[in-house]
């Protein structure tokens, strides 16, 4: 299993039977492949579908049926379609149990930056801010460091924050952090990772409470 799938599999363990889950772009989309047996979850996509199914075979693609990444998806039995205003009413109103999303940076308080890189011509926030304030539980899945080796878990984000609300859990290729009142708490090392490695590649203070 490659590292992205390992992160996704760890995130999948957090889900409970019956959860309504919104999956962001990237690693989060892999979570659906790793659900534990007996756990049925309902995937919500903010463009207006509760009950997202897996990507279709090419011959079965319906141009009117996409997820929030604009990729073709399918519908599952018991699904429903709705308009964007209703979809975000669900999100902001606390009706989505878990949002799993990627991040560019996470700070020592567990707050996320994932929507803007100043100076780039990329202009967009999409549903990120709404999901961060509205989902009952937010899980971040990401690589522990950037492609050029910089820590992504930092004392203070240099990139603009997505919300003032901290997330609940951060899962990387090296470690799992729970976010408590006091800030980040390292609770698990991913298979093969060492505490020393995590310390070296993390630029934020954190407590250690390994089981």
């Amino acid at each position: 299993m490659d590292i992205k799938h390992r992160i996704a599999a760890r995130a999948a363990q957090e889900l409970r039977d019956g959860d309504v889950v919104n999956l962001g772009i990237g690693i989060p989309t892999l979570v659906a492949d790793h659900l534990p047996p007996g756990v049925d979850v309902y995937l919500h996509t903010e463009n207006g579908l509760l009950g997202v199914g897996p990507a279709p075979e090419e011959w079965a693609v319906d141009p009117d049926l996409v997820n929030a990444s604009k990729r073709p998806v399918t519908q599952t039995p018991g699904c429903s379609y709705f308009a964007s205003d209703q979809s975000f009413a669900m999100i902001r109103g606390g009706h989505v149990d878990v949002a799993i999303l990627g991040a560019l940076q996470v700070d020592a308080q567990g707050r996320v930056a994932n929507w803007s890189v100043p100076g780039e011509t990329v202009l967009g926030v999409g549903g990120a801010m709404d999901l961060l304030v509205g989902a009952r539980r937010v899980i971040v899945t990401m690589s522990h460091i950037t492609r050029d080796g910089q820590p992504k878990i930092v004392q203070n984000c240099s990139l603009p924050l997505t919300a003032d609300r901290p997330v609940d859990l951060v899962i990387t290729d090296l470690a799992v952090f729970r976010v408590m009142e006091t800030g980040l708490v390292l609770t698990e090392l991913m298979p093969g990772a060492t505490l020393e490695q995590v310390r070296r590649r993390t630029a934020a203070q954190f407590e250690v409470q390994l089981a």
Partner: protein
């Protein structure tokens, strides 16, 4: 009964230079592409476009943008069209970026006679800077105002001749809410049926929101 079914040129001729236009669609999915093409053909300029994205390079609304005919874009996710960022950085386009939930809620407010509303989204972030806030139940909310437009161009699946609309799958997205928030609403549809042929329990957009209906693939 008023005749609402018109040709594309007739419908789009109601748009004038300088107007604000809401355009439905999540990317190109559920976007009224034939109405946008007709708008491109007719040449209106200096437009304010309220749309989640502004098409994709060379497609949909981006053609108007590339031709320098959009003055301002209000939306939530222009990431998928780098032309927006380039024009904005070059000072050729004014951009107003909103959280997607705030964007669609502001349009709902515009259609529902709500002057403004408080949302948690963007509180404590760059997009909330300069906005009025209020602490409600111990949490900080940002005040957002209603969004309306002169014209809405929307895409639906089926219409009856009165203007009742239903949509198809995730092509629904921003279309129903935009249908409520503009002075003039033009719907591009796959199929037009007679009055009484639609089940009254499943109509998503009641006819009072719709001014003109244009059949897709009809004569330009």
């Amino acid at each position: 009964m008023k005749e609402k079914v018109v040709s594309k040129p007739e419908a789009i001729a109601h748009i004038r230079d300088g107007m604000s236009i809401m355009v439905g669609g999540f990317g190109l999915v559920g976007a009224p592409l034939e109405l946008i093409d007709e708008l491109f053909r007719q040449g209106q300029r200096d437009l304010t476009v309220i749309s989640n994205n502004v098409g994709e390079p060379g497609k949909g609304l981006s053609r108007l943008l590339e031709a320098g005919r959009i003055r301002k874009a209000i939306g939530s996710y222009f990431t998928s069209n780098p032309v927006v960022g380039e024009h904005a950085l070059a000072g050729k386009l004014e951009v107003e970026l909103m959280p997607q939930g705030t964007f669609t809620e502001a349009i709902r407010a515009g259609g529902a006679g709500i002057g403004g509303f408080y949302t948690r989204a963007s509180a404590g972030t760059q997009l909330g800077v300069g906005k009025e806030t209020k602490v409600i139940g111990g949490q900080t909310y940002v005040l957002e105002y209603a969004l309306t437009a002169d014209v809405a161009l929307i895409r639906a699946h089926k219409a009856d001749r009165l203007g009742n609309l239903v949509y198809r799958k995730t092509a629904r997205n921003f279309n129903p809410v935009m249908a409520t928030a503009a002075k003039l609403v033009i719907a591009e549809v796959d199929e037009i049926v007679e009055v009484g042929e639609m089940d009254p329990e499943v109509i998503v957009t009641p006819h009072l929101y719709v001014d003109f209906i244009v059949q897709r693939g009809g004569v330009a």
